[in-house]
């Protein structure tokens, strides 16, 4: 990023412009040789961020399409789940949430609205902060609104297993990444020929879980990190696998990802959570898409501890603009943020209509933050 590069981790080597240029050139040659448009999909908001932030789309060759799928856990959090959190705040609990979830609209209100209405809503940067808060306020019910994929769920699991005070509970809205990939592999409309797997989710789950996926779909999967060279090298490798017709799994992030993943983290995850079906916003029912607390943790599950009255937060005015929102199509990789009539006009980060504009992992927000259409091919 900047000129002061003294010290710092070797990660800066993964931003080396010369290697980046070489990878970009090789990528261009591969795609040209293919003689057709190659569409690839990733399912990770942080990959879209990396691509947008470093201007990688301007570097990708014209015949290459790198599309974001449903890789934003906040974006796929359904309105009833937000309503539960809003209701709990209205019912007097102190609801702790990661910042991204604060402005996600429920049926009518977001947690930010609940806060403006006098509810106790706190933004935290770690689940441990919420636990500490519960310890500091023993007379209050503190509810942790747990969002994020399994990379984040392991932290929630670790906190639960290390012991939490009685007044602490978890409202789980965690999602499961493999479900996202299964979803998009079933879409007939797109012509996705290969997948980039999220490097940090894979740090936890290992890359072995993608082997059945590759076998079933006949499409290659490359696990990618998040520095510019990580992304470029992974995309290049994926294009090569696609061209060679090799539906294999390749790990291009070996410094963080192994085949088996992070054993201790996985053990804790499955001690606390189970995969259940749920509705994903804009995408409808996803059979194994959500992570819920296992029955032995019912005493810490906000859905069991409280009678959550979501009826009281529903009703009233519906947002008419929501009818024009195409987040569902965008998350399925069928449309781009710039295809939406509301993008950048009625729907902006400070006045979001759809979920994709709320979360920092949402493609609409990312495209907007990083300049509208991160696809500069013709720059002076």
């Amino acid at each position: 990023m900047a000129s002061s590069s003294a010290g710092g981790f070797d990660e800066l080597k993964f931003r080396d412009p010369e290697r980046a240029r070489a990878l970009a050139l090789a990528l261009e040659r591969e795609v040209d040789a293919a003689g057709r448009t190659i569409s690839l999909m990733h399912v990770c908001g942080s990959h879209e961020q990396a691509i947008a932030r470093f201007g990688l789309r301007a570097v990708f060759p014209r015949g290459l399409d790198v599309i974001m799928g449903p890789g934003c856990p906040v974006c796929v959090t359904d309105t009833p789940e937000v309503d539960e959190a809003v209701a709990l705040a209205a019912q007097g609990a102190r609801v702790c949430t990661y910042g991204d979830m604060l402005r996600l609209p429920g049926t009518v209100k977001s947690l930010a609205d609940a806060q403006s209405d006098g509810g106790n809503v706190e933004v935290v940067y770690s689940v441990t902060q919420a636990v500490d808060l519960a310890r500091q306020r023993p007379s209050e019910q503190v509810v942790f609104f747990a969002s994020g994929f399994e990379t984040t769920a392991v932290a929630t699991a670790a906190a639960v297993l290390s012991g939490v005070p009685e007044n602490f509970s978890v409202l789980s809205s965690h999602k499961y990444v493999p479900a996202a990939m299964d979803l998009v592999s079933e879409l007939k409309e797109t012509n996705i020929e290969g997948f980039l797997a999220a490097g940090h989710a894979a740090t936890i789950t290992g890359w072995g879980i993608f082997e059945p996926f590759a076998a079933r779909t006949g499409k290659p999967v490359v696990v990618a990190g998040f520095e510019p060279l990580d992304v470029l090298a992974a995309v290049l490798e994926l294009v090569r696998l696609v061209r060679a017709g090799r539906p294999e799994v390749m790990n291009c992030y070996p410094r963080c990802v192994s085949r088996e993943g992070n054993g201790p983290a996985l053990e804790k995850l499955w001690k606390v959570f189970d995969v259940v079906g749920g509705n994903w916003r804009g995408i409808a029912r996803v059979p194994r898409g959500n992570l819920e607390l296992r029955p032995e943790w019912n005493h810490l599950n906000a859905r069991h501890r409280f009678q959550i009255d979501t009826a009281s937060v529903g009703g009233a005015s519906r947002n008419v603009l929501a009818d024009q929102c195409i987040c569902g199509s965008i998350m399925s990789g069928l449309a781009r943020p710039s295809d939406c009539s509301l993008f950048g006009k009625e729907c902006r980060p400070d006045t979001p209509v759809g979920a994709c504009m709320v979360s920092s992992e949402g493609s609409c927000k990312i495209w907007h933050v990083y300049g509208g259409a991160p696809d500069l091919k013709e720059v002076a």
Partner: protein, 103 residues
């Protein structure tokens, strides 16, 4: 999945549950409950929402860069069969005839 930043372990708490980690300009305390292997002072770890989720083996940085250079070389050679002999650096890709899909 998101915001994983690498840092170096400066010290470990007496109970071994947390560590002070240096992010080369700022420091932060991380929980060690879910890191994949035990960490010691000087190790590099990946941070996610206040927890270390991976001990990054220092030799991996060099090896990853070598991996990328190898990918580049093979792309230049246009020799797709060279992938079969890449060995350890490709960290577990199945050899042709094994693993998933058509070879």
């Amino acid at each position: 999945m998101c915001l994983g930043v690498p840092g170096r372990v400066l010290s470990i708490s007496d109970d071994g549950l947390s560590a002070q980690v240096d992010f080369f300009g700022v420091k932060k305390e991380l929980r060690l409950d879910i890191v994949d292997v035990p960490v010691t002072v000087g190790d590099y770890v990946l941070n996610h929402v206040g927890f270390a989720i991976r001990r990054i083996p220092p030799e991996e940085v060099g090896e990853t860069l070598a991996l990328f250079d190898q990918i580049l070389k093979e792309a230049a050679a246009g020799d797709l069969m060279a992938e079969d002999v890449r060995g350890e650096m490709a960290a577990g890709r199945p050899a042709p005839g094994h693993g998933s899909g058509r070879g």
